[in-house]
């Protein structure tokens, strides 16, 4: 019985002490170091518009449906997609009727929007929802297929739009890790900057 009492006392003291060190001092040290060394990243890699208002984060995708914009991937985050306070995938399985029906609709929409042939292959990322629902990227292949529409709507040259895509492309880390992706928000903001919205 003495052992139990003694060990319980130690357990209570240890919990409080570790809470102080690991949950108080440690995160504050990391906070200090991050704000000092990498303030931009530590605060959410925010993008500011011309009037210093926040227009988004480099890492969080936003929805774009207008014809003059590059379109991101379908999103299952929140009721209307791209809700950054409710990150989520669809969690639909490969034999789900609901899933396959929605892909069918997206494939047909994608072909119509981008003027593709009825039997043209559609990029996988263009018709599937990402894991987070906030994927900032689309595949380079997906971006290429959207060029003619965006260039026409904005009255820009295809080559110019291509060069903007190249600028907004995140290459694999260290040249080998992961896949290349085109950051849709950065790309659309860059295009808006040369062809004003209205």
């Amino acid at each position: 019985m003495n052992t139990i009492v003694k060990e319980t006392t130690t357990a209570i003291r240890a919990t409080l002490l570790f809470a102080f060190v690991l949950c108080g001092i440690y995160p504050v040290i990391i906070w200090g170091a991050s704000q000092l060394l990498f303030p931009h990243q530590a605060n959410g890699s925010l993008i500011e518009g011309s009037d210093r208002k926040i227009v988004g984060s480099e890492w969080l995708g936003q929805n774009f449906t207008g014809a003059k914009y590059f379109h991101p991937r379908p999103s299952a985050a929140g009721a209307n997609g791209y809700d950054a306070a409710n990150s989520s995938g669809s969690n639909l399985g490969p034999t789900s009727k609901k899933f396959i029906d929605s892909v069918k609709e997206r494939v047909s929409d994608y072909r119509t929007e981008n003027g593709l042939a009825a039997d043209a292959l559609v990029p996988g990322d263009a018709v599937t929802a990402s894991g987070s629902g906030l994927d900032p990227h689309i595949s380079p292949k997906n971006a290429l297929l959207q060029i003619p529409r965006v260039a026409r709507e904005r009255g820009l040259g295809v080559d110019y739009v291509k060069s903007e895509i190249a600028k907004a492309t995140d290459r694999p880390s260290l040249g080998i890790l992961g896949e290349a992706g085109v950051n849709v928000l950065k790309l659309n903001l860059a295009l808006d900057a040369v062809t004003p919205k209205k």
Partner: protein, 607 residues
């Protein structure tokens, strides 16, 4: 698998191989109360102060019963601590989003899940947990449960290495030294590196971004009570909802994510876990997070070899783990790259593989690799949604968990789990040649085999028992009409897989999910919470008993009939034992879920 996949896999393996020895040697010092490390000048005073404040005499060594008592009491107290913070969240500070108190059953589930190193999450982090809850209630267990796991593994290794000894170490010393000398320094470095990649670390409220394109959507109109408003014909009334801002999650994320990976906890700061771009911004952060999962478990095999003075044994265990890891990656990557024939039929490019639930920056290979690593270990962080994997791609994580997460495994938990299989393997080898089984100079007696078998059986009992019960019940959240549902997001065999995965993950203390299952309902929260407790403590206690039993034994001289525990023959036997025991137990359930779904998918069936 393409060339880039192979190069990444080789890089990953090389990183594990290079670090196993140096970190293993460092672990030997950390897990010895008299060990000297290069961090002593900074940490020794803090360590001494900790013993003083907690009333621990570091020179005391305890038998297995005292070790187990201390471990259980610490787990109980810290679990109550977390429960209390979650229930009181609304009145505690550091809650800029004014989030409400966490409910009773969800608080129980979360407290149990984090105490047991499971980190199953029935909630979405960014919409449920205040900064204080994330940083204190949850993070304390990310450290403590990892340190406890490593301590238990060290106690078992001491039991194997010692002879005619009553004691197996001091729980408080292991807890303190692992936390201060191992986890904390690694986390400080890792967290800052993660921030450099784009992870957040701040204490400001969520930002609001003005959307470039305003989104308009028709949604069902709700009245003040949250019920759908219906017109005269009983159809729901819709209204236009305009979204012109995006709420940007903020908070102390990096400090939590560093220990989440290094401590194989896996509980995400956000709902989408390591798929959420802040929580895993670049392929480099992704690589480092996967490496962080395996880093300590891999080095622990070196610690084992060094402690029992048989480095060949340590490497044989490492190799057995690697073989199982490699096989898992191959299968998962193959089936995810092969994609979904139902989508190919619609005109989706088959070269892109199964991209549902995956992020573009990681692609197929890094999603399959992450899924294998996180379930080989008891981590449970995910960078893609396992629920949307192809049936066979999703079978890999499920089977990994059901094998007991012994492929490198959770920090400490992987090693002690694998050592249970080692005991069973030498027992089988002994039976085959008709000798009393021996392990490193110790006779393995019926009592020891009973303890090892108990550990294996509790896994099967909890997973299959609960999953069977849930499959024939309707115990999930109620639907719109108020009737109880089974809580699944998918129908047909995939729905069963969701339930089976949930109890496998909880019992295995993994924490990943086929996340379509809505588990935040009283019955699921409670049974899953209980499964995490069974899976942790009903295993650790017999393991400590085994450690105590082994420590007491006399050494016997090696003879010509002694079965060697190093080399390819032993590695093969160990891999065979893991697969045989796992396969015998779980194949029937796996056939009902992923296997049958695989064939139905190819036949074009939809549910």
């Amino acid at each position: 698998m393409n060339t880039s996949g192979w190069i990444q896999l080789i890089l990953f393996t090389a990183a594990l191989l290079v670090t196993a020895k140096p970190l293993g040697l460092y672990l030997c010092k950390v897990l010895d109360v008299n060990g000297k490390t290069f961090l002593d000048p900074v940490i020794k005073p803090i360590e001494r102060m900790t013993y003083k404040l907690t009333g621990v005499d570091p020179r005391d060594e305890h038998d297995w019963k005292r070790y187990a008592t201390a471990m259980l009491l610490f787990s109980l107290v810290s679990m109550l601590f977390t429960y209390a913070i979650l229930r009181l969240q609304a009145v505690l500070p550091l809650n800029p989003q004014k989030l409400a108190a966490v409910g009773e059953h969800l608080s129980f589930n979360t407290a149990a899940s984090f105490t047991t190193n499971t980190n199953w999450q029935s909630y979405g982090g960014e919409s449920t947990m205040s900064y204080l809850s994330q940083m204190v209630a949850l993070t304390i267990h990310n450290f403590a449960s990892a340190a406890v796991g490593i301590g238990i593994a060290a106690a078992l290794v001491r039991g194997i290495a010692r002879h005619t000894s009553q004691t197996i170490g001091n729980f408080w010393v292991d807890l303190t030294r692992v936390t201060y000398y191992l986890l904390l320094p690694l986390c400080v470095v890792f967290a800052v590196v993660l921030v450099s990649q784009g992870m957040i670390q701040n204490f400001k409220p969520y930002d609001s971004a003005a959307l470039t394109e305003v989104v308009k959507a028709q949604v069902e109109k709700k009245n003040a009570a949250g019920e759908t408003v219906k017109d005269a014909e009983g159809k729901p009334v819709t209204e236009e909802q305009v979204t012109d801002t995006q709420s940007i999650v903020q908070g102390p994320m990096a400090s939590q994510v560093a220990i989440k990976m290094l401590g194989t906890n896996g509980g995400g700061y956000t709902n989408a876990n390591a798929a959420q771009p802040f929580e895993n911004p670049t392929p480099l952060s992704n690589f480092l997070q996967m490496f962080a999962i395996f880093l300590i478990p891999s080095a622990l095999t070196y610690f084992l070899g060094r402690s029992v003075k048989n480095q060949g044994h340590g490497w044989a265990v490492w190799t057995a783990m690697f073989v199982l890891f490699f096989a898992g990656v191959m299968v998962a990557a193959h089936y995810e790259a092969a994609g979904n024939p139902n989508l190919t039929a619609l005109g989706v490019d088959p070269a892109d593989g199964n991209m549902e639930g995956k992020e573009v920056r990681f692609g197929i290979f890094n999603s399959a690799l992450f899924a294998t690593v996180t379930t080989d270990a008891s981590c449970g962080a995910v960078n893609s949604m396992h629920d949307s994997f192809t049936p066979m791609g999703g079978l890999v994580p499920l089977l990994n968990i059901e094998l007991g997460e012994v492929v490198f495994g959770g920090v400490g938990a992987g090693l002690y789990g694998m050592l249970i299989y080692v005991v069973i393997a030498v027992f089988i080898a002994g039976l085959m040649v008709g000798r009393t089984p021996e392990y490193l100079g110790k006779k393995i007696e019926p009592k020891d085999v009973k303890m090892a078998s108990f550990v294996i059986l509790i896994l099967a009992f909890s997973i299959l028992g609960f999953a069977g019960w849930a499959s024939v019940s309707k115990m999930g959240a109620p639907d719109a009409t108020g009737a109880l549902t089974d809580g699944t997001n998918n129908s047909g065999p995939h729905g069963f897989s969701e339930i089976l995965y949930a109890y496998s993950s909880a019992t295995g203390n993994n924490g990943s999910a086929f996340a379509g299952l809505t588990a935040n309902a009283p019955w699921y929260d409670t049974t899953l919470g209980l499964a995490t407790l069974f899976g942790r403590f009903a295993m650790i206690v017999p393991i400590l008993a085994l450690a105590g039993s082994l420590a007491r034994k006399k050494l016997i001289a090696e003879s010509a009939g002694t079965f060697p525990v190093s080399g390819p023959l032993f590695t093969g036997l160990l891999v065979g034992t893991v697969l045989l025991v796992g396969a015998l137990t779980f194949v029937p359930a796996l056939v009902l879920g992923p296997v049958v779904e695989h064939f139905l998918m190819h036949a074009g069936n939809q549910f």
